[in-house]
Amino acid sequence: MATHSATHDDHDHKPQGFLDRWLFTTNHKDIGTLYLVWSLIMFLVGGAMAMVIRAELFQPGLQLVHPEFFNQMTTMHALVMIFGAVMPAFVGLANWMIPLQIGAPDMALPRMNNWSFWLLPFAFFLLLVTLVLPGGAPQAGWTLYPPLSLQGGYSIAFTIFAIHLMGISSIMGAINIIATILNMRAPGMDLLKMPLFTWTWLITAFLLIAVMPVLAGAVTMLLTDKFFGTSFFNAAGGGDPVLFQHVFWFFGHPEVYIMILPAFGIISEIIPTFSRKPLFGYQAMVYATASIAFLSFIVWAHHMFTVGMPVGAQLYFMYATMLIAVPTGVKVFNWVATMWRGSLTFETPMLFALGFVIMFTIGGFSGLMLAIVPADYQYHDTYFVVAHFHYVLVTGAIFGIMAGVYYWLPKWTGFMYDEKLGKIHFWWSTISVNVLFFPQHFLGLAGMPRRIPDYNVAFAEFNMISSIGGFAFGLAQVFFVYVLWKASRAGVKATDQVWEGAKGLEWTVPSPAPHHTFQRPPVIDDSKLAHGDVTH
């Protein structure tokens, strides 16, 4: 028997047929790849919608689309990017890397893993097919506020069932991640020796389990209001339209952290590697992540300062929101301190990580400004908010994902990507994304509301600049696809360690990582771990 399993290891033991390999797969690496490819496709679909938006906003007057279609684009762009691109990308990275980081042979629940991925194509079929249904896709914004969201046709039902499927998928993914991390760590891989990416995902998974059912409940109430005569949100029937907003944002704010905490983890892996120095304040990073996650549950109504809350509630939500700046600040300071007295090199993952730290912090600043109620009375629902959350989500979450992809790509493909092309992609993206989103701060402050298809001539200049940045950023991502395609086929052979300063179990397996890894638990050598020293 022993020889038998040894030969299996040698032969990599991949299923041969295409369907066997991908449709019926239970392998964490293949499912990770599926998630990542899926997320890339959705990123391009959502990006194409953003291009429609920026093209219509290129100059005042309506040139290309009707306002109805414009509203469909803003709604679908958000849903596709959040649920189709960002979240699956993080789940894909988790699938690939968490078992490798903790020395596990696979995810704890491999069949469920398969199912949670394969729900997504059905979910997005339901969502995207609304574009061609009579009446078109939902137009009420991704927040789906009633009564507006209940005015359209059947598309809301499709959207709600799509959200249910995505929710089931996310919850199963989260259960799997928690089960894997808590049960499948190699002996000696104590919780406080785990890499930060694994840690942030553990915390994120708890957030997902806590809030996805809340979203499911909120949209189910929408469904029964629309089709079964209930009045949860209908004031004329004794309901409360603001209740929806409370429930939605009780999901929505933790959702923001679901999309950023794993990025924090990725950045906390990359900066030490390219600084050739352990992460500064490892335990503080873990506790900061946990406190951000806790705070994320008690700040939801900062999205609703203009709904007419009692002033006491406004003060509470303002103070609680401001508090998030403390653990977030700790993280940023720790990253800078990690670089301090390091030995820095600037390969593409590091460039994206540094871009992340700077631009995410800019998004954090505007977030802090938005927490201040008297000022938020002006900022709320303007382009200032649009600028804020795109700094957090594009130069935050998506730059974090791209940093992670460049960082781990050689481990996946066995080839080094083309460093020159990677750097071009970074600089092209960074310059264009700032041309795209920075002027939107000015537009918001000057008084331009969000979600409008047309605007006064006073807003023309910055909108045109923003659109030009948008087109350039969009093109940069097509270039990204080329860089990835090239790196997946050929290149300089990657070593096992890949990066000179890289530490941790994932760098002890061959590149590309064989189909099965750690079928016998590795022997943990604390000095070879990124965080083997548990005294701090």
Partner: protein
């Protein structure tokens, strides 16, 4: 672009950033919030500037340290990692405590201003605002203790409305009033308010959620069906102040502007005595529910 034009635009941009002149309406190349014409807008502006400068200061420190590290600790310059520098309780306590103190320094002025904004007592006039898809109804309920019955609907002006149609071929730049571009920021019938008077608003909606926002007044307030929200203003300076609906309310969300014409009290009282000037008889909303175009046409 012609160099003098660039220079004049640059000058305009710098002026917009530097001078706290009371910009009442959006300006080309405007970079910053306007201090507006009320105590509320002043409060919002002050909090905005306090926050902005604190964030700039923190940014200078953090990004400065990062930049220093990126220059000073490069491997290519022979930097050797100090792998023992991974933890310092003292530093960590400091950079947890200082942000807390900064937050308290922010929260204090924000709280005092918010409490002032929330005080709707001692008003002299009440206006009820109702949001509809896609126009606003204004009812002057009372003025200085006297009940009033002025009630009218305010919709996008015809000129903007014609121009904004998809493929209209009309130039938004040509929609002007008194040399100011009013494209999508003009209405057939503005809300007339007296200056130096505390006006209380009762804000609600009839169909979906809207939000009533005039930046120069300093706040926005959601208009929610089934709820009545209160807000107030006290305009210091006569003028025409333009705003827009700020909550997505359907296809014409971008086309339901708000115009407030603030006039001295005497003039306002004259307007009241004239029963709102040229208000048409009857209820526009009763005759049509077909959008601003029809409503505007009906009012002619």
């Amino acid at each position: 672009m012609h160099p003098t034009r660039i220079r004049s635009r640059l000058a305009a941009a710098i002026a917009a950033l530097a001078s706290p002149v009371a910009l009442a309406n959006p300006e080309r190349w405007q970079l910053n919030l306007s201090p507006g014409v009320t105590a509320s807008s002043q409060a919002a502006y002050e909090m905005h500037m306090i926050m902005l400068w604190i964030c700039v200061a923190i940014g200078v420190v953090v990004f400065g340290a990062m930049t220093y590290a990126m220059i000073r600790f490069r491997k290519s310059k022979g930097a050797v990692p100090d792998t023992s520098f991974t933890h310092s309780t003292r530093i960590e306590v400091i950079w947890t405590t200082i942000p807390v103190l900064i937050l308290v320094a922010m929260a204090w002025p924000a709280t005092t201003r918010l409490l002032a904004l929330a005080d709707t007592r001692d008003y002299e006039m009440t206006v009820k605002i109702t949001g509809y898809q896609w126009r606003w109804r204004y009812e002057i309920v009372d003025y200085r203790g006297q009940a009033q019955d002025i009630n009218f609907v305010s919709s996008l002006d015809l000129d903007s409305n014609r121009t904004r149609m998809l493929g209209s071929g009309l130039d938004p730049r040509a929609v002007q009033r008194d040399g100011v571009n009013t494209y999508l920021l003009d209405v057939d019938r503005p809300l007339v308010l007296p200056t130096d008077t505390k006006v209380r608003f009762l804000i609600t909606a009839n169909d979906v959620i809207h939000a009533w926002w005039v930046p120069a007044l300093g706040w926005k307030q959601d208009a929610i069906p089934g709820f009545i929200n209160t807000a107030w203003t006290d305009i210091r300076k006569p003028g025409i102040y333009r705003g827009q609906c700020a909550e997505l309310c359907g296809k014409d969300h971008g086309f339901m502007p708000i115009v407030v014409r603030a006039v001295p009290r005497a003039e306002f009282e004259q307007w009241l005595a004239d029963n709102g000037g040229t208000l048409p008889p009857g209820d526009l909303l009763a005759t049509t529910a077909d959008g601003p175009a029809a409503a505007s046409a009906g009012s002619l």
